[in-house]
């Protein structure tokens, strides 16, 4: 528990908590009884308690005990629960008392890195690497953390050196492999980065961040050649982790794959099937009131978030808000036309702009 401080009016203190004969605010007996009450209440927590009476008020402050030499056994759970504000002072005390404490160096370095104090992080982690020389697992972890801190500070040279050292120490350290993969991708060495991601996945096949990174790097390396594998990997991410930042990124990337797919067969021309679907969508939405239109659009947009297989003629989905069955291309056209109706200046990113313009022209001709 963190320290706490508060002030109460003597008159508002719950006198029923005090022994009879000491319940009158302002008296010595009252002050003594209130002090006893707080001392008993915080006794189980240790630490330092201060109860001061001034101008009719009770000022209470409680601080947890300053650790003499906090044990890592007590700090570990705080770190696991991400209670960093509680863990940090304990680690700092530990390091002051034992300047070469390997876990204190490592954990304080990681905390500093997470909090953006990167110079401090790198100094601590370099010390942790040296101190952990006799323990290859701990040293590998320190190297990985040092690599990440260096990467955050855009020092790719130390980052690469540290991550490679970590992999030398522990060739199956999935986090080190993944981090080195990311570093290589950032540096433009896509094939080497992909190789590291594959090694990381061989060790930790359920690591969704690596799965996503691999898909992204594959598409960047050669979209056409790796499209199927990347799409399969992204689908794995979305299925395993349907919500949140990672799946949103995976969905966006699948959207961009779908957009390129659309142009794959006829890069120059207009896809007549998409024109027909856009025309159908224009006619459908025109016949709807705003409420029904919004209901349909939000349903198809939510469905589209999962990714659409635009070039799969066999796909067939049903909607709650519209009868019949719908191919993914038809759904993409519904989304594009709906978005244009709502926000004419925005683009859906699905790559159906040309077909939509043609459908709009035909719709205008038909309407006239």
């Amino acid at each position: 528990m963190e320290g706490t401080a508060f002030t109460l009016e003597e008159a508002t203190f719950d006198a029923s908590l005090l022994p009879e004969g000491s319940r009158t605010p302002g008296t010595v007996a009252f002050h003594r009884a209130v002090t006893d009450y707080f001392q008993k209440s915080y006794a189980s927590m240790g630490g330092q308690l201060s109860v001061v009476f001034a101008a009719g008020r009770i000022e209470v402050a409680w601080e947890p005990a300053a650790a003499e030499a906090p044990a890592m056994a007590a700090i570990g759970p705080l770190l696991q629960q991400r209670r960093f504000d509680e863990a940090r002072p304990l680690l700092e005390t530990l390091l002051q008392l034992q300047p070469e404490h390997p876990e204190a160096l490592y954990n304080l370095g990681v905390l500093a890195s997470e909090e953006g104090r990167l110079e401090e992080a790198r100094l601590l982690l370099r010390r942790a690497v040296i101190i952990n020389a006799g323990d290859s697992h701990a040293q590998a972890n320190a190297q990985v953390a040092l690599g990440l801190a260096a990467l955050r500070q855009e020092d790719r040279s130390e980052a690469r050196q540290a991550l490679e050292a970590a992999i030398d120490l522990e060739p199956r350290n999935a986090f080190a492999l993944r981090s080195l993969g990311s570093l290589l991708v950032i540096a433009g060495a896509l094939a080497a980065g992909i190789e590291r991601f594959r090694q990381a996945l061989a060790v930790a096949p359920d690591d969704l961040v690596t799965t996503f990174n691999l898909a992204q790097a594959l598409l960047e390396l050669n979209h056409q050649e790796h499209r199927d594998e990347a799409d399969r990997l992204l689908l794995l991410v979305i299925e395993a982790q349907p919500y949140g930042e990672l799946s949103n990124k995976a969905k966006d990337l699948r959207g961009s794959i779908a957009s390129r797919d659309l142009r794959a067969e006829q890069p120059e021309g207009v896809r007549q099937d998409a024109v027909s679907f856009c025309l159908q969508a224009l006619q459908l939405f025109e016949a709807m009131d705003q409420q029904r239109f919004m209901a349909v659009l939000s349903e198809v947009a939510a469905m589209g978030q999962g990714g659409l297989q635009i070039n799969e003629p066999g796909t067939s989905r049903s909607l709650k808000t519209l009868p019949g069955s719908w191919s993914d291309l038809a759904l993409a056209c519904l989304i594009h036309v709906g978005m244009k109706r709502l926000m004419p200046d925005e683009d859906s990113g699905l790559g159906i702009g040309t077909e939509y313009e043609e459908a709009l022209r035909l719709h205008g001709v038909g309407g006239n």
Binding site: M1, E2, T4, A5, F6, T7, L8, E9, T12, F13, D14, S16, L17, V34, Y37, F38, S41, Y42, S44, M45, R57, I58, V60, W62, P77, Q80, Q81, R82, R83, S182, L208, V209, F212, N213, Q241, P242, Y243, G244, E245, L246, N248, K249, Q290, Q291, M294, A295, S298, E299, A301, A302, Q305, K320, T321
Partner: protein, 254 residues
């Protein structure tokens, strides 16, 4: 580079909400959010629920789980019975005029009115959210034990942030009945947190200030078996009765 993912237990909970409501749940990080997390249940115009959270850190898993737990209750209320808590003009004006009197001479009338409005609105938000929130915290403690570590950190931090509401200066700034009701709700939060995380001293400030009995009555209301289709409304009405706020708001269909 993606850095953050919701914990698996939270994903399971979100799937549970989707199954119960038959509608998708969208979860998005929004760094300009005023609160830690917000919830926008689906409407006929928007056929998806939206949970937004502010910080891309691990604690956001708990904030999302908390909103999902509330959503799970909301979607089980039949659509035609869903209602929103709305202000009652007379109550609002009464608070504003009390604040105007309290700060007369030190603030302009316009600022005093604004401050009064903030007190009233703040209390109504607290009344609408704290009771159902206590239910959600306890439900998550029992049903999703994987989150207990995060929960302990989030709840303790919230209790610590609330403690200054007891300071005597607050009495000079706000109307007595608003301040008392707000403190009582914070007390309920502190007593339940003390129980869930096993640290009784968390509630000591509120016990010393004489809020224990009222806090325990409020907690009991959140744990009572619901008798209507809208348990959150029951909790809010029950709390309002205990806090003397029954005439401060009205329920209206959206």
């Amino acid at each position: 580079m993606p850095a953050h993912a919701l914990l698996p237990a939270v994903n399971r909970l979100l799937q549970q909400v989707e199954e119960a409501s038959g509608l998708p749940v969208a979860v998005a990080q929004q760094s300009d959010l005023e609160n830690l997390a917000t919830l926008r249940p689906a409407t006929p115009e928007r056929q998806a629920h939206l949970i937004a959270y502010r910080d891309a850190d691990e604690a956001s898993s708990y904030h999302v789980a908390f909103e999902a737990a509330l959503l799970l209750r909301i979607v089980q209320v039949p659509a035609e019975q869903r209602v929103n808590l709305n202000e009652k003009r007379e109550a609002r004006e009464k608070v504003i005029s009390q604040v105007e009197k309290l700060v007369k001479g030190s603030l302009s009338l316009a600022l005093a009115r604004k401050a009064g409005l903030r007190f009233y609105d703040g209390l109504m938000v607290q009344l609408r959210s704290t009771g159902p929130g206590l239910w959600a915290d306890r439900w998550l403690f029992e049903q999703v034990p994987e989150l207990r570590g995060l929960q302990a950190a989030v709840l303790q931090s919230q209790v610590q942030q609330n403690v200054p509401c007891l300071n005597a200066e607050v009495d000079k700034m706000g109307p007595a009945d608003v301040v008392k009701a707000s403190r009582a709700m914070n007390a309920a939060y502190a007593f339940q947190t003390a129980e869930l995380v096993g640290i009784p001293p968390l509630a000591i400030p509120y016990q010393a200030a004489g809020f224990e009995d009222l806090a325990r009555e409020l907690i009991a209301i959140t744990r009572a078996e619901p008798t209507t289709a809208d348990p959150d409304r029951e909790i809010v009405d029950g709390w309002a009765e205990k806090l003397g706020l029954s005439r401060w708001y009205v329920w209206k269909t959206p």
